[in-house]
Symmetry: C3
C-alpha cells in the first residue's frame, strides 16, 4: 500500500503512522480523509497524532476493534460535549463491526453511570447516523416482570459486583436506602439484565463511562473488581483505560490506572 | 384516568410507571409525548425508565415539585452539555409552578459554583422559552451599596455557612487572600444577598450544582452543613441528591451521599 | 472617559466596574456591548458582575493580558461545553495581543490534558473566527525525528517536571508501561517540544486545563511544581488559578488552590 494520507511524500512518517493510516484507509477512508482535511490548514500535526494513535494503541490485540469502539462511544457519550466526534465514532464503530442495536444498547448502559440526558443525546446522534445510512431498526422494550425486579436486580448485582456491590448497598442502608433500591432495581434489575451485550462488554462500557467523567474513583474500584470477576484480565482492564486517553486526556486515565493498580494489588 | 402513554395496551406497567404517567399527563402532556415519540423507535425502554422515575422519585413528598425542578434546572445548568433537557425542564418547571423570575434567579445562583458561561447559556435557553411562550419580564439589577459589600458578605457568610465558611476563608488567608475576598463579596455579598429565593432554595440549588459537577466534595461538605443550618432536614438533603441522579448518573450522587453521611455523623 | 456601559447614568458603580468598563471599551467595545445587550432584559446584574471581574481580577499586573487570555481559552477549551464564550475569548485574546498561531498552539497544548475532541472543537471555532476576520495562516507540522522521540521526550520531561515526572513514570512501570511511553513520547516528545509557546506559557495553559476539568489534583500537584520550576512564582500560580474562577466557578479553583498550598508548603 502506498502512503495515501501523508501530507507530503518526502516526509518519513513513523511506523505507528503507517499502521494507523492503513487501518483507517481500509475501514473508513472517507471518514479519516474528512478529519484530516478539516485539520490540514491550521493543525496538520494534530491529524498526524490522531493517525498515530490508531497505529499505536488501537491495533494492540488485547482488545478487539469492536470492544475498542464500544469503549470510545461510551467515553464520548459520558463526556457529553463532543457530538461531532461521537457521530464519527458511531459511523466508524459500524465500519469495524458493531451492529446498530449494539450501539443503542451500549449507550443505554451508560444511563446509570452518566445519566439520561447524555444518553438521550447520543441516541439522537445514532438515530441521525442510521437515517443517513438508510438503516432501519426497531427495538422493543424488554419489559421485565416488575414484581420480580428487586429479586432479579439483587441476583445480578451479586453476579457482577460480588461483595463489593453488597458493601455499597450496606453503606447506603442508614442514610439513603431508597438510593440502594434504585441502584438494585434500575442498574442491575433493568440495565444489566438486558440482552444484546454480555457481562464483559458491559464492564468495558462501565469503565469507559466512569473514566470519562472523572471523580468516580470509588465506583471505578467496584467496577474494576467486577471486570476481573466477569472474566476480563488485568491487561485488558488497563488497555480499556488506555483506549480512553485520546478522548479524555491523560489525567483522567492516570487516575483510573492508579485505582486499577490498587485493585490489582488488593487481589494478590 | 386511562393508560395513555403505555406503548401497548396489553402490557402490565409498574405502579411507578402509572403514577409517573398520571403526573406527566396532568402537568405537561405535550412535553412527555414529545420525549416518548423521539424514543419510540430505538429506545422505548428508556422512555419507560423516565416515566418510572417521575412516578418513583419525583412524587416523594419530602420535596415539592417546584423544589425538585429548581434542583433539576440547577443540575442541568452546571452539567452544561444538555441544552435540550435543560430547555425541557425550564418549560416543565413553569408547568409545576416556578415563576420565570425564579428560574432566572436560580440560574444566577449557580454562577459562583459552576461559572458564568454555563449560567449564561442557561439564561439564553430560558430567554428562548419565554419568547416562545410570549412571556415578557424585565429584571432589574439589585445593585447593593458597593461600600458595604464586604460587610454584607461577611454577615451573609456567617448566616449561611457558620464556622465552616470561616474555616474556608482562614485556609485561604496565607495563600490566596484575594480569593477569600472574592468569595465573600461575590458569592455572599452579591448572590446570596439577592431576593427572590430564600436560603433553603439557595442551598438546594447549591447542592445540585456541586453534585452535578463532581469532584467538589469539600464544598459539598460545607454546603450540606449549611443546608441543615438554614432549616432543611437530613432526609430533604438526601432527597435533593437523589433528585439529581437521572441527570448525573449514580456515581456522582453516591459520592455526594457519602459526603452527606460524614456530615450527618459529624453533627451527632 | 464617561461611563459608557452602565445601565443607568444615575447609579454609582463600583471602582472595579469602572476599571473593567474602561478596559473592555478600550479593547473590545463591540464584544462587551454584545454581551451586555444579551443580558440587559433578564439579567443586567450578571452583566455588571462580568464587567467587575475584568476590573477586579483581570487588571492585576501579576499576569499580562495575553497570559490571562491563554489561561481563559485553555480553561474554556477543556470545559468543552461553552463554545459561545470560547469564541468570544478567541476574539478578545487577539484584541489584547495573542497571535492566531499562539491560539492554535495553546489549544494544541490542551490535548494531552483534556483530549483530542475538545481541542478539535476549539480549533474549529478558531478557524471560524479567523475566517470571519479574514485572517489567513497556514501552520506546518513540526515533524520531529521519530527515531529520537523517546529521547527528546525524556529530556523534556526532566526539564519540565523533574523528579515529579519521573515518579509518575515509575508508578506506571508495573501496571501500565505503555501509558508511560505514550506520555513521554506524546506529551513531552511532541507537544512540549513544539515551538511558539515557552515553558511558562505552557504551564499556565496546563494549570488552566487541569483546573477546569476538576478531579485532576494529582496532575495539578506535578504541574504546579513544574510551574515553579520553569520560573513562575507562587503568586503567579495562584493568580493563574484565580483567572479561572469566572469560567469554572469557585469550587474547582478552591480545590486547585488547596493543592497549590500543599505544594508551596512542601517546597519550604
Amino acid at each position: 500500500m502506498g502512503r495515501r494520507l501523508s501530507p507530503e511524500g518526502g516526509i518519513q512518517m513513523s511506523d505507528a503512522y503507517n499502521k494507523g493510516e492503513q487501518l483507517l484507509m481500509d475501514t473508513y477512508e472517507e471518514g479519516i480523509k474528512g478529519v484530516l482535511a478539516n485539520l490540514s490548514e491550521l493543525s496538520p500535526h494534530i491529524g498526524r497524532y490522531i493517525v498515530e494513535f490508531f497505529g499505536q494503541v488501537f491495533t494492540n490485540p488485547l482488545l478487539s476493534f469492536t470492544q475498542r469502539e464500544m469503549i470510545t462511544i461510551a467515553a464520548l457519550t459520558s463526556l457529553g460535549d463532543c457530538p461531532g466526534q461521537l457521530k464519527w465514532h458511531i459511523q466508524f464503530g459500524m465500519k469495524v463491526g458493531l451492529a446498530p442495536e449494539e450501539i443503542i444498547e451500549l449507550i443505554t448502559h451508560t444511563i446509570p453511570f452518566s445519566g439520561f440526558p447524555r444518553a438521550l443525546n447520543a441516541i439522537s446522534l445514532a438515530k441521525l447516523v442510521f437515517e443517513e445510512l438508510g438503516i432501519q431498526i426497531a427495538i422493543q422494550d424488554e419489559l421485565l416482570n416488575a414484581g420480580n425486579i428487586r429479586e432479579t436486580g439483587l441476583a445480578k448485582l451479586q453476579e457482577i459486583d460480588g461483595e463489593h456491590g453488597t458493601q455499597v448497598l450496606e453503606s447506603l442502608a442508614g442514610v439513603a436506602p431508597v438510593l440502594a433500591d434504585q441502584i438494585v432495581d434500575f442498574t442491575f434489575g433493568e440495565i444489566y439484565s438486558r440482552s444484546l451485550l454480555d457481562a464483559k462488554q458491559r464492564q468495558l462500557v462501565t469503565l469507559a463511562s466512569l473514566t470519562a467523567q472523572g471523580g468516580c474513583e470509588p465506583q471505578l474500584r467496584v467496577h474494576i473488581h467486577a471486570a476481573l470477576r466477569v472474566g476480563l484480565n488485568e491487561q485488558q482492564v488497563i488497555e480499556a483505560l488506555l483506549q480512553c486517553y485520546p478522548y479524555t486526556g491523560f489525567p483522567k486515565v492516570l487516575n483510573a490506572v492508579s485505582t486499577a493498580r490498587q485493585v490489582f494489588e488488593h487481589q494478590k
